[in-house]
Symmetry: C2
Subunit: 557 residues, 2 copies
Amino acid sequence: MPKEATTPSHVLLLRGGFVRMVGAGIYEMLPLGLRVMTKIAAIVREEMDRAGAQEVLMPALLPKEYFEESGRWESFGDTLLRLKDRKAGEYHLGPTHEEIITDMVRRDVKSYRQLPLNLYQIQMKFRDEARPRAGLLRCREFMMKDAYSFDTSEQNAIASYEAMREAYHRIFRRLGLDYRIVAADSGAMGGSTSAEFQVLAQNGEDAIVACTKCDYAANVEVAAQVVPAKKTDAVSAPSKVATPGKKTIEDVAKFLGLPASRTMKTLMVVADGKLTMVLVRGDHEGNDVKIARAAGAREVRMASDVEIREGVGPVGYLGPVGWSGPVIADMSLDTGEGFVSGGNEVDVHLRDVVLGRDFQAKLADVRTVGNGDPCPRCGGELKSYRGIEGGHIFVLGTHYSAKMRATFLDENNVEKPIVMGCYGIGVSRLVATSIEQHHDENGIKWPIAIAPYHVVVTTAGKGDDLDQAAVRIYDELRAKGVEVLFDDRDERPGVKFKDADLIGIPLRVVIGKKGLAEGKAEVKSREEKDPTMVPLAEVAASIEQRIVAGGGRLRAS
Amino acid sequence: MPKEATTPSHVLLLRGGFVRMVGAGIYEMLPLGLRVMTKIAAIVREEMDRAGAQEVLMPALLPKEYFEESGRWESFGDTLLRLKDRKAGEYHLGPTHEEIITDMVRRDVKSYRQLPLNLYQIQMKFRDEARPRAGLLRCREFMMKDAYSFDTSEQNAIASYEAMREAYHRIFRRLGLDYRIVAADSGAMGGSTSAEFQVLAQNGEDAIVACTKCDYAANVEVAAQVVPAKKTDAVSAPSKVATPGKKTIEDVAKFLGLPASRTMKTLMVVADGKLTMVLVRGDHEGNDVKIARAAGAREVRMASDVEIREGVGPVGYLGPVGWSGPVIADMSLDTGEGFVSGGNEVDVHLRDVVLGRDFQAKLADVRTVGNGDPCPRCGGELKSYRGIEGGHIFVLGTHYSAKMRATFLDENNVEKPIVMGCYGIGVSRLVATSIEQHHDENGIKWPIAIAPYHVVVTTAGKGDDLDQAAVRIYDELRAKGVEVLFDDRDERPGVKFKDADLIGIPLRVVIGKKGLAEGKAEVKSREEKDPTMVPLAEVAASIEQRIVAGGGRLRAS
């Protein structure tokens, strides 16, 4: 077990013999792992087909020209794996296929009559991630379903997007995943036409909040806060107060006998080269992504102590009163109340500083929303989660079609750019994601719909009668199209049970001496603590029923 | 249509909308093409599973180290697509996976108890072919099934090889291909443990001969000739004959009133730098590969006129008598008869030159066997074909396992190298290969087992009654799991029929005015000239029966 394997899915995939590492972020799917991935892909395929999308298969080896046309040959940076062929022609491996599919559509689609179109593929993608991590959670070669929709208008594109959202719901439900649809940070696109399907998991890379009452959910970068109520209490003019050695919010609040929520926290950032003051309430946390958006800046970094000392005042005692540079204040400070801020002098703070009266600032939502905050949609309580992005749906608009001149003639013979959407699902990532959500201290607990095998049949004890009964049940199950493992290894029952639990087989049939004497076998699910004794003649039917009830599927004979 | 598209499969795949070119030797599978390829892959998968092989999926992006270990990082030359990652680590794209699978097996397999093993994958391969050609026939990115067997002994490896040969028979038969198993030129391995599945096709790259009586078939490079009978007639000593201006076999034979088969053809080659004479009968052709093998040389080229003039004699009048360098004579000359050869003087030939009496030579099989030659196995008549390599099976022996130390402990605890085999099928190539064998002037004629759709339903004429009847039949067929296209375009029937024939849909149902008045529909296969009138209520059952009879499969509902 490599020492970098720490997340449960990484450890269990390796220990259970599902995958093998071939290089950093490069994995081989062994038979068990491939069976799970194939089942996930089959569910994705069925739901895409049901939604009217058509499957294609684009190449992974791509000539430079397409990405050059869109500008991504440069903008993808080091993540793009570039190579040259024997004639020094430049190529790259496909990290995603917007350009290739747009090229196809611009060649073939001429008229509005040929639209809408939704094309998808299930294929290996290549990205030279700076930090591949956690086994299948972030790989450099990974299986993805990527779909692209083509419509005649923004409105129709949104309809395609909604259809994909419904298809994704069905997919994630069938996969047995607990997930939230969250508004992602989609930059210029606006939140309403981009959403992530976040699978809840302790080891997720993404921080999200979700309402405990309604279905609101958002990445913390975009989770909106509720506009605060205005207070109308009169507030005295600001007054200096000596706060010797009190530099942190905690120390100041305690020293002054006030809650942290009545203080202002001053953050100094450098936004596109300009020193900028950001204010949030003492009990809140500033959010980098929101700050950058509020500043309208491409690059934002924390100011250094030197920059702060030279440009503003003593670190630990900063405040907006008397500072002439730009100030961005979080909207939670806009209540008309007085807050405690730094006095821009060593050992000095100011009481009763009122935003808009004592200093001017650009108001914005710049803090991280979290546990206990009110839901911006229904007022209910928000809860924080970690999530793994399992899918992403996105209205692209005319970004690629305009650049690549993918147009159509509308009903009035007017040439217009096609309106696109794109829709991804990380198929190989979902193998690991499922484990992150479905495991215990003994191993994996696959939902039956994606388990590599439905059931393991084995004996407890020795004897030809036991073996024969086990083989009979194995044959019966196979005849019904059940995917069954027969564990005939010469091991103690405990070892066999442990292995079956490790690899997460949902159902177990055990032929033991005592049961067989009564004409019965033990049937137990991975979830159940104790087996049920089932008459031998009823075992196959009982297993079949459990599989179907659990969303599993029997093989066509 | 690009001008380089000349082979039928290339033209029809493009015209029929099955594939689209993205770069040289790089194709995208459009919905129709992907459906065919997926069906071929499914048949391959079923037969591999039936043969007890287990499916895995290895990465395409491979760290340099594995191929370095086997020596192929160098020996693969320009065909290997190499690239570097963001840390300047060296990688390549997998052209085949012997090293990767051997690495897996050496890590996991320790004992003879874990053998035999047969692992396969269906996956995109990458080879930077010097001359990609003919669409899917020779691509730089292509889908391949590659399987690898691991055994404890050469004998067991041959058993694995034989099992694969049987599986391949089933696969090629189910695909509806006319093929021959031919002994390939396997170099040092020996012909008995390597065979190609050659699909007969006019545009094939490979020249093969096959017996018209028994199942003997071989690449012309290895097709053996029958040892000639010895003649015991007394032959006079060689005598000079003036042959003014007669330089070609044809001219000399005609001039002397002899058949070409009584003359010797003298070829001068340079084998690993050494000027060497090669003799074949006047009516035979020398074969480069056989000559190289007979000379034991790595590199053989034709000698230049200068080299010949300076080293032997006048071009057009060469012969073995009086030449002191090495001579290789084809075994067909070893009959004890006298042949006419050149006299090594301008305008002079020699009659009655007898091999072994008048000159010494190394006897070998150095000529191309062809149409009309006797079969080396049964004496029947051979016929020449062009073939496309669809599959290749191969006993590798311990080539990789010895180099990479993939060993096991046998029953006596003795460490031995694992004996390997490898087995490829060009899945995407078979899409094109099938067309090469199944097309006419109107388009593709897919065998029903791999057709993108089983049947097309359409109307001839206009009217709600026609449309309703067509929709009803469409729905009935779909309910039965038939893959059906509904052509409801506003086109003339002739145009629709032409398109259906172009894309090779095996069955057609047409609802016409006249037939409908009698409660009947036209049912016609792509092969048939005239349709059969079938009562509407029986159409679905009739189609179903034709599909099953043709080896097609209905979808599980």
